[in-house]
C-alpha cells in the first residue's frame, strides 16, 4: 500500500467506451444499430502488477484489450501509457510507443503467421528495435530460451509446434521489445490444464524478472484469481465489481460475482456434493439491446424496481461494486481505490 503514491500507473484507462456500428441504413450513410461493446471502463495498472478482467463471453473483454492497444479506436475515453495519452495518436506517432505495449492472443495458431518460421516471426516483432543482424539473432535465441523452448524451434514453422509451444512463442514475441504493459487476451484458454500450468508459471516468472504490467483477460475464474493482483469483473461491457483479488474472491459483493464464483466446478467431489449452488437463470442479454438500468437485473435474484429504473454507478472505493443492493464490503471497504503492487499470497 505504500508504493502507489510514488509510482504513477503505467497504464491508466479512463472512461473507455467502444460502440460498434452494425449494418447500415438504406443509403449506407448511417449504421442501423449501435452495439455498445465497452461502456465507461476505467482502471489503472501499476508496473509489475497484474490486473485481471473476467466476464462471460461477449462482455467486451477483448474489445477493451484491442482498444488499449489502439488496434481499434475507442469511441470515448482515454488510454494513458506511462502518462502519455495514446488515444489520439496517429499510426506513425503510435509506432514508437508500440514497444511499450504488447498483446498475446487467445488462439495460438491463428496468432502466428503460418508461412513464417519462428525466427522470422520473432524478427518481425523486433523490427521496432532496429537491431543489426547479429544482435537480432542473439536476441531471438535469448527470447526462445526465456520462454523455455529448445533452441531448434527457431527454424520451425508454427504448425510444427504444439499449442503450448506456440503460445510461448506468442509470449516471446510480446516480451521481445521490452514492453511495459502486455495485454494477455485469454492466453491459456485454448490449452489443456497440464500445459496451462506451465504457461502460467512462465508468465509469473517473466513478470518478476522483467517487471511488466499485465492486463490478464480470462473467463476462467480460478486462473484469474491465480495470476491477478486486482480484478475487474465485467458484465455487458461494464465493470461491475473491482478490487483486490483476495477481497473479491473472499468477499464478493456483486450478485453477479457471487454467481460466477458459485458456478466454478471444483475438482473435489466431496466439496462439490456439499456445495450450495446459485444457478443464474437465463442468458446474457444482447449487447445490441441491453436492459435498462442495471444491465444485470434480468438475471439477478435481488432485482427490484429500482434496478430497472436507474443504473448503479461503480463506487469509488478499493473494492468497488456497481449495484444498488450490494453485500457490504469487507475490512478494506473504506480504503480509497488505488492501484496496488501487493503481491498476492503475501498479503492474503
Amino acid at each position: 500500500m505504500s508504493l502507489h503514491n510514488l509510482t504513477p500507473p503505467v497504464l491508466d484507462v479512463r472512461n473507455l467506451s467502444k460502440v460498434f456500428p452494425i449494418g447500415s441504413n438504406l443509403l449506407g450513410t448511417k449504421p442501423a444499430q449501435m452495439l455498445q461493446a465497452v461502456s465507461d471502463v476505467s482502471f489503472r495498472v501499476a508496473q509489475g502488477e497484474t490486473f485481471g478482467l473476467v466476464g462471460e463471453s461477449g462482455c467486451g473483454k477483448s474489445t477493451l484489450g484491442r482498444c488499449i492497444l489502439r488496434l481499434i479506436d475507442p469511441t470515448q475515453g482515454e488510454v494513458l501509457l506511462a502518462g502519455t495519452d495514446i488515444t489520439h495518436l496517429n499510426a506513425a506517432e503510435m509506432r514508437p510507443l508500440r514497444q511499450d505495449l504488447q498483446i498475446v492472443f487467445q488462439d495460438p495458431m491463428s496468432s502466428l503467421h503460418p508461412g513464417m518460421t519462428i525466427r522470422r516471426i520473432l524478427a518481425e516483432g523486433l523490427r521496432l528495435l532496429k537491431l543489426d543482424a547479429q544482435t537480432e539473432a542473439a536476441r531471438i535465441a535469448e527470447l526462445i530460451s526465456l520462454v523455455q523452448l529448445p533452441a531448434d524451434v527457431a527454424d520451425r514453422y508454427p504448425h510444427e509446434l504444439s499449442g503450448g509451444q506456440r503460445q510461448r512463442i506468442g509470449i516471446a514475441r510480446a516480451i521481445s521489445v521490452n514492453p511495459k504493459v502486455i495485454v494477455l487476451d485469454e492466453p491459456v484458454s485454448a490449452l489443456d490444464v497440464s500445459i496451462q500450468a506451465g504457461l502460467l508459471n512462465l508468465l509469473r516468472s517473466l513478470q518478476e524478472r522483467l517487471n511488466i504490467a499485465y492486463v490478464f483477460i480470462a473467463h476462467d475464474l480460478s486462473v484469474v484469481r491465480y495470476v491477478s493482483d486486482r480484478i475487474g469483473v465485467m458484465y455487458l461491457g461494464r465493470i461491475v465489481e473491482t478490487g483486490r483479488a483476495s477481497d473479491l474472491f473472499d468477499n464478493p459483493r456483486h450478485p453477479y460475482t457471487q454467481a460466477l464464483l458459485s458456478a466454478i466446478p471444483l475438482a473435489d467431489p466431496r466439496a462439490e456434493r456439499k456445495r450450495a449452488r446459485t444457478v443464474l437463470e437465463g442468458d446474457l442479454p444482447s449487447p445490441l439491446n441491453p436492459p435498462s438500468g442495471c444491465s444485470f437485473r434480468t438475471r439477478c435474484p435481488r432485482a427490484r424496481p429500482l434496478c430497472a429504473a436507474e443504473r448503479p454507478l461503480l463506487e469509488d472505493t478499493a473494492h468497488a461494486v456497481a449495484c444498488h443492493f450490494p453485500d457490504p464490503a469487507g475490512t478494506e471497504a473504506t480504503a480509497r481505490a488505488t492501484p496496488s503492487t501487493l503481491q498476492t499470497g503475501e498479503g492474503a
Binding site: 496451462q196 475438482a267 466431496r270
Partner: protein
C-alpha cells in the same frame, strides 16, 4: 445383480490411416456403465475420448478401423450393420456434442431438427403430434416460449439455449444412454452450471445412463459416479470419483490435479506436467506417459503397463503401489527437462 450392464466396452480400438499404415487413436479401452449412472471420462485434448465414443456409435469416417467389443444392453454394436445401428442411434442412445452451434444444421429450424429426430424412429407419428412433443421437450429443458423457439434457427439461440435444445433433441426418443461429449466446454461458467444442473436432473428423473466426456476435472467431480482418465488412447486410471480424486495412484492423474490452479494455489507455483502428449503418429515405446513422468523408471520406457487394481482404483502404472503409498517422490522426467 446379474443384470447386464447398460454399456460394456472391452478392448475397444480405433485406428486411422496415417502416412505409413494405420495408427491407433484408441488402443484397447474398457468401460462399464450401469443404467442411471454417470461415467466421467477425462483426459487432455487428443487423448482419444471422442474417438472412443464415436467408434462404438459407428460415427467415425468410413476409412477408420474399429475393433473390440461394445455391448449395449447385451447387443454388440461393433460391426453391427448400418441398418440396425440406425435404429439404436437416436432412439436408445442420445448424443450431445461440444459445439452446439456447429452441431445443429444452420438451415433448419430447431423444431424441424427435433421433429426429424422423433419421426426418424417413429414413422407413424403425425407432424403435428411430433411438433407438440417437440414443444414439450423444449419446455422440459427450460427453454422459455418453446412454441416460438421451435420456429427459430440455431443462430437465433444463445449458446446455452442451443445446448439445451441439443439435449432436448438427444432425449427426444427417451434413450436409456446419453453420450455427452464435452457438453459444456464451449459455454460460460454460469451457463455451464445451468446445463450441468439440467443434465443431473434429467439423468435422475429418467434413469438415464450417461457417459460424460470432458477435460475439466471440476465438471466430472461434480457429476460423475465413476471416472476414467484417458491418456494417449488408453485408460490410465479408473474408479469411483472419490477414489480417483483422493486415492490417486497414476502419476498422470496426479499431475492433472496438481496442475489446476485452485483457490488454494494462489501465490504458489503450479505444477505443470512437462512436455506435451505424444502424437498418435509417434508414440513412444512403453508407457506413453513415461517421457513426461517424474516417476518413470527405465522399465517404463519398455513395457506398456496394463490396468491393475490398486487400492480403490485401477491404474495402468508400474509404480502405482509406491505412488499410492507415497513412498516415492517425483524426479524430473528424462526428456525435455525444463527449468522453471
Amino acid at each position: 445383480m446379474t443384470a447386464a450392464p447398460l454399456l460394456e466396452i472391452r478392448d475397444l480400438r480405433a485406428a486411422f490411416r496415417g502416412p505409413s499404415g494405420f495408427v491407433e487413436a484408441v488402443r484397447g479401452v474398457d468401460f462399464t456403465l450401469n443404467a442411471g449412472e454417470v461415467l466421467g471420462i477425462v483426459g487432455e485434448s487428443g487423448s482419444g475420448k471422442s474417438v472412443a465414443m464415436m467408434a462404438l456409435l459407428q460415427l467415425l469416417p468410413a476409412q477408420a478401423r474399429v475393433s473390440g467389443s461394445a455391448k449395449f444392453k447385451g447387443r454388440e454394436l461393433i460391426g453391427m450393420p448400418q441398418r440396425q445401428i440406425r435404429h439404436i442411434l437416436g432412439r436408445e442412445i442420445g448424443c450431445i456434442f461440444q459445439d452446439p452451434l456447429s452441431a445443429f444444421n444452420p438451415v433448419l429450424t430447431i423444431g424441424a431438427q427435433i421433429i426429424e429426430a422423433i419421426r426418424l424412429h417413429d414413422r407413424k407419428i403425425s407432424k403435428r403430434a411430433a411438433l407438440a412433443q417437440t414443444i414439450d421437450l423444449l419446455a422440459s429443458v427450460s427453454i422459455p416460449e418453446p412454441e416460438r423457439r421451435a420456429q427459430q434457427y440455431p443462430h437465433e439461440f444463445s449458446g446455452g439455449m442451443r445446448q439445451r435444445a441439443m439435449i432436448a433433441m438427444a432425449l427426444a426418443n427417451n434413450p436409456s444412454l446419453l453420450i455427452a461429449d464435452e457438453p459444456t466446454t464451449a459455454l460460460d461458467v454460469t451457463v455451464q452450471a445451468q446445463i450441468l444442473d439440467l443434465l443431473r436432473r434429467l439423468a435422475q428423473e429418467r434413469d438415464i445412463g450417461m457417459v460424460l466426456i470432458t477435460h475439466d476435472l471440476g465438471v466430472v467431480a461434480s457429476m460423475a459416479r465413476d471416472i476414467s482418465v484417458m491418456y494417449s488412447g488408453r485408460v490410465v486410471e479408473t474408479g469411483s470419483a472419490d477414489s480417483v480424486f483422493y486415492d490417486t495412484c497414476h502419476p498422470y492423474t496426479r499431475g492433472l490435479i496438481a496442475a489446476m490452479p485452485s483457490l488454494e494455489s494462489v501465490g504458489t507455483l503450479l505444477t505443470p506436467i512437462d512436455g506435451t502428449p505424444p502424437s498418435i503418429f509417434d508414440r513412444p515405446q512403453g508407457c506413453s506417459f513415461a517421457p513426461r513422468c517424474g516417476y518413470a523408471l527405465p522399465a517404463c520406457h519398455e513395457t506398456d503397463p496394463e490396468l491393475r487394481q490398486i487400492g480403490t482404483t485401477r491404474a495402468a502404472c508400474l509404480r502405482a503401489e509406491e505412488i499410492a503409498a507415497g513412498t516415492v517422490r517425483p524426479t524430473a522426467p528424462l526428456s525435455e527437462s525444463l527449468p522453471v
